[in-house]
């Protein structure tokens, strides 16, 4: 069971959180105007990396906030966490 540092509440057990998919997926700005392939890529295609993976979590049973986590998918170790909307960072999660 992961131990995840919520940016707002501190370290908490994984069962308080809900995984919410790969982070930094950009919803096409003009969704209606993009082509099918672009839309399909947004909906479905994922990097699914072995190694450091940026992903979204929600502290469902806590503050309710979505935030980002960089986690090593080979070891499951959490590298860093940072608030939603911030650019990916390897350390500290500041913009």
């Amino acid at each position: 069971m992961l131990l995840i540092e919520c940016p707002h509440c501190g370290p908490r057990a994984e069962i308080e959180f809900r995984y919410s998919g790969e982070a930094h997926m950009v919803r096409p700005a003009a969704a209606a105007a993009c082509d099918d392939a672009t839309w399909a890529a947004y909906l479905y295609l994922r990097d699914n990396v072995r190694g450091e993976h940026a992903e979204r979590w929600r502290h469902t049973h806590g503050c309710g906030q979505f935030f980002n986590v960089v986690r090593d998918t080979l070891t499951d170790r959490v590298v860093t966490t940072y608030p939603a909307g911030h650019a990916r960072s390897a350390a500290g999660g500041e913009i």
Binding site: E14, I15, G21, A41, R46, D47, R50, T73
Partner: protein
């Protein structure tokens, strides 16, 4: 040497010194007609059918570690075909048709045991969706039948059908032709048979890159044992699909998640079939050795660590004890984890890739073992002929662009 009781008898006189390697361990050749990336059940079956059905024998199976070491050797061996959508039912039934004759065909006892697979319904919603499966399956000739609770208990006596349960059993769907098989034997049996037909099985050979020519067509792979040429490449590397396909610049609609299972200490026979429950979230059978084999749910996050959270094991055991309260005093003996590639619609991908010569077979999620013979058979057809077998055609990659999904997940909540 042909395997048989007589051969065993003969060998016993000589101290069993006459048994050969079950599959050859050759050095890789410079090039092959077809290179299969991934030496699991699906990849080995693909190679076997390429050789046996299509006469394509200049084939190599490249395995990063030891054959059958991925999900083939880590699953709970449930075999069934009672899927909801026509396309899925056809796909899995193609495999189920092959299972009964497979031990004889491969001359390897895979211990296929059609002891019946029962899916429990605990809520009216379960009844609704389960009956839809039953009726759809019946139309397609799949032997999935609806049982009321008393009939279900008659088939599986350990079931608690009392009202005591938090989610009492309202009925069940039973596919009698479903069951289990010995997972390792599937890999070893296909490997031995393919090897005998000339297929090179190369273990400890990690694929590091996919080579392509100026036109974009594949020409071979870079491996930890040097470059190997290939006219066609079939990627059948569950748990590593995204990584391998990334070598050819193809992004996949996959997330790889840990999936755990556990067994109890062995006891004398007490559990006659396979029982699955989506609402209570567990599935269970008893191995020939006597261990209760219990599947846990996938962890929520993607990972390649082949380990998962203890709470997933706990949830599975809680569910089993809720349905079978006599098992509270049984003990967990072993647990393990695999890495499953999940697609958005929880249906597999058997497809071209947009790159000439590159084909992919992946996304079997939590339930690929049952499909092993069918998957190999259909993918071999695709590799040999260059076009998808009609049963496999709906499972192409482009369904994610068109929206023509085959969404077993939405319909069934959980698939195993």
């Amino acid at each position: 040497m042909k395997f048989s009781g007589l051969a065993l008898l003969r060998q016993s006189l000589g101290g069993h010194r006459g048994w050969d390697r079950q599959w050859r361990s050759p050095e890789p050749k410079a090039a092959y007609d077809v290179v299969i990336v991934g030496g699991g059940g699906h990849g080995l079956a693909t190679a076997y059918y390429l050789a046996s059905v299509h006469g394509v024998t200049n084939v190599a199976v490249l395995e990063r570690g030891w054959i059958g070491g991925g999900n083939t050797g880590r699953n709970t061996t449930v075999i069934r075909s009672n899927y909801l959508f026509d396309e899925s039912a056809a796909l899995y039934n193609h495999a189920l048709d092959l299972w009964p004759g497979l031990s004889a065909e491969l001359n390897y006892n895979l211990m296929f045991s059609p002891r019946g697979v029962m899916l429990l319904a605990h809520t009216l919603h379960d009844v609704h969706i389960t009956k839809r499966h039953v009726h759809s399956n019946r139309l397609h000739g799949i032997d999935n039948v609806w049982l009321d609770p008393v009939e279900a208990k008659a088939f599986c006596p350990p079931l608690d059908i009392s009202e005591r349960a938090r989610y009492p059993i309202l009925g069940a769907a039973l596919q009698k032709s479903g069951g289990t098989a010995r997972h390792d034997a599937v890999a070893w049996g296909y490997a031995r048979a393919a090897s005998a037909l000339g297929v090179d099985i190369i273990e400890n050979c990690a694929v590091l890159g996919i080579g392509r020519d100026a036109t974009g067509s594949v020409v071979g792979v870079e491996t930890s044992r040097g470059p190997i040429g290939a006219r066609k490449i079939g990627v059948v590397a569950a748990g590593a699909t995204s990584t391998i396909m990334d070598m050819a610049g193809v992004r996949m609609p996959l997330e790889s998640h840990p999936l755990q299972a556990l067994v109890s200490e062995p006891v004398k026979p007490c559990f006659p079939c396979v029982v699955m429950s989506n609402t209570v979230h567990a599935y269970i059978s008893q191995s020939d050795k006597g261990e209760l084999v219990i599947g846990a749910g996938a962890d929520q996050y993607p990972s390649y660590s082949q380990t998962g959270g203890v709470h997933q094991l706990t949830l599975a055991v809680e569910a089993i004890c809720e349905m079978f309260p006599m098992f509270g005093r049984m003990r967990m003996l072993r647990s393990w984890g695999g890495t499953v590639d999940l697609t958005p619609d929880r249906s597999p991908i058997l497809s071209d890739t947009g790159i000439a010569g590159l084909y992919v077979n992946c996304g079997w999620g939590t339930g690929g073992f049952k499909a092993t013979p069918g998957s190999g058979h259909l993918f071999a057809h695709h590799l040999a002929t260059g076009s998808a077998h009609p049963i496999a055609a709906p499972f192409s990659l482009d369904r994610y662009t068109t929206g023509r999904l085959i969404d077993e997940a939405a319909a069934a909540a959980v698939a195993h």
